[in-house]
């Protein structure tokens, strides 16, 4: 089983070494008084709170383990991004509400000043995002942080896997005020390119989004949905997928059918890891440097530890373990 606990990014714009750096620095100082600085943030994805039972008994334990881990990190992240499927879908509004509340209870344990979320289809596709917005606010928005512009995109709330014309127009207007050299991070749930359309790993109007971003020279896309680590370079845009916090899907390059990786009772966190990204201080041409760190389950050592880990979570009694994607 390959469970990821999320992704930690260190962002050091190093603008002083880049062309047009002065223009960007001036822009952010005028816009919000912030000058570009090195900072770190984390990405968590697809905890599917509410999903528990065969074939995966972990429930929220990987999510909670990830929270504990990030809280022990030597450097507190400036914020944490959640790229969708915060909850597992539920037909009942009451059950889904409970899952959103449980998600917030766990997420709020993270020692960080801010949490930013986007919905996944499990959170928002059945009701058009009504319940999600009641709990988390707008499903698309943007903010600036220390010289980087962040854009949250919702590509799930329309049921069809798309951003839609209205949101695309909003994004175009939002980024139009920035110089082309501004570092931009877009975070969303589904991949914005055709990663594996027959597994629904795509966004129908993803090309329109990428065309709108094409004038910008420093764009990074962070997403979830595929429950596995992935990197793709499309033009000069880097697309990073985060691992899930509930279970992994198999490799689309070697499998015709999408399947959950089988749960390994002996190694419930097998393959679990974090990815560190840092600005490359020696090569200004490289925006982010990526380091993957594999985690262990040593905190749950021995038979009794593993049994404790895989014991059903009382808070999730009655939850379903149907297909999740």
């Amino acid at each position: 089983m390959s469970l990821g606990i999320g992704v930690v990014y260190q962002f050091a714009p190093m603008l002083a070494r880049r062309a047009h750096a002065g223009a960007i620095e001036d822009f952010f100082k005028k816009a919000n008084g912030e000058s570009p600085q090195t900072f770190t943030f984390a990405q968590f994805s697809d905890p599917h709170v509410g999903f528990q039972g065969p074939p995966d008994p972990l429930g929220t334990k990987a999510f909670e383990h990830a929270v504990d881990l990030i809280n022990r990190a030597p450097q507190r992240p400036d914020f944490v991004l959640f790229t969708g499927d915060l909850t597992h879908d539920a037909e009942s509004r009451d059950v889904h509400t409970q899952r959103m509340q449980l998600f917030k209870t766990i997420a709020e344990r993270i020692h960080t000043p801010a949490i930013h979320t986007v919905p996944g289809e499990n959170d928002a596709a059945l009701d058009g995002g009504v319940l999600y917005r009641e709990h988390f606010g707008d499903s698309h928005y943007s903010f600036d942080h220390k010289g980087v512009h962040f854009v949250a995109l919702d590509n799930v709330s329309r049921a069809h896997p798309e951003v839609g014309a209205d949101q695309l127009a909003w994004m175009k207007a939002d980024i139009a005020r920035f110089p082309a050299t501004t570092p931009i991070v877009v975070f969303t749930h589904r991949p914005l390119f055709d990663l594996k359309p027959e597994w629904e790993w795509f966004t129908a109007d993803g090309d329109d989004v990428m065309n709108a971003l094409s004038p910008y020279e420093n764009v990074t896309i962070l997403y979830g949905h595929i429950h596995r680590q992935n990197f793709a370079l499309r033009g000069n845009v880097k697309h990073y997928a985060a691992r899930s916090l509930i279970f992994a899907f198999n490799d689309p390059a070697t499998n015709a059918e999408k399947k959950q990786m089988p749960f390994d009772q002996g190694q419930p966190f097998n393959g679990l890891g974090i990815r560190l990204l840092a600005d490359n201080a020696t090569d200004p041409a490289v925006t982010l440097e990526v380091t993957d760190v594999e985690l262990t389950t040593q905190e749950f050592g021995g038979v009794s530890g593993i049994q404790q880990l895989t014991k059903p979570n009382e808070a999730l009694k009655g939850s379903s373990a149907n297909d999740a994607d």
């Binding site: 597992h88 037909e91 069809h160 896997p161 359309p197 027959e198 379903s320 149907n322 297909d323 999740a324």
Partner: protein, 121 residues
């Protein structure tokens, strides 16, 4: 764009893409009709066989919620709404295996909805 015109556009695009490779044997044949029913969380049938160059009319219906019918590589992407027949005529141009999926989220199990289309020479 109305649903009717959208479907017509799909048919035209596919016909245009297929015309150079269409087999003469089927050029004047009336379209074969294939009925496909969508329901949570499967298509019935879940496997159909078509023939290269032979026009086929797909009649798509839903017994419960709105579903999608999408084959990205063929630029087919439409919705199937309960109570109405969504119809499209296509002419397969290339032998091979294609997967149609529901791309209108319909609940837990949505990811299981797929239909295999085998196009034979």
């Amino acid at each position: 764009m109305t649903p009717t015109s959208k479907i017509a556009t799909i048919a035209i695009v596919l016909a245009a893409a297929a015309c150079t490779a269409a087999a003469p044997t089927y050029a004047d044949a009336a379209p074969q009709v294939v009925k496909i029913t969508a329901a949570k969380f499967h298509f019935e049938p879940d496997h159909i066989t078509l023939h290269k160059g032979q026009p086929v009319t797909l009649q798509l219906t839903s017994t419960d919620a709105t579903h999608g019918f999408m084959i990205r590589v063929l630029k087919i992407d439409t919705e199937i709404k309960p109570g109405k027949v969504t119809e499209m005529t296509v002419t397969p141009a290339t032998p091979g295996s294609f997967i149609a999926i529901c791309d209108h989220y319909c609940g837990l199990g949505h990811g299981m909805m797929k239909l295999k289309i085998q196009v034979e020479q």
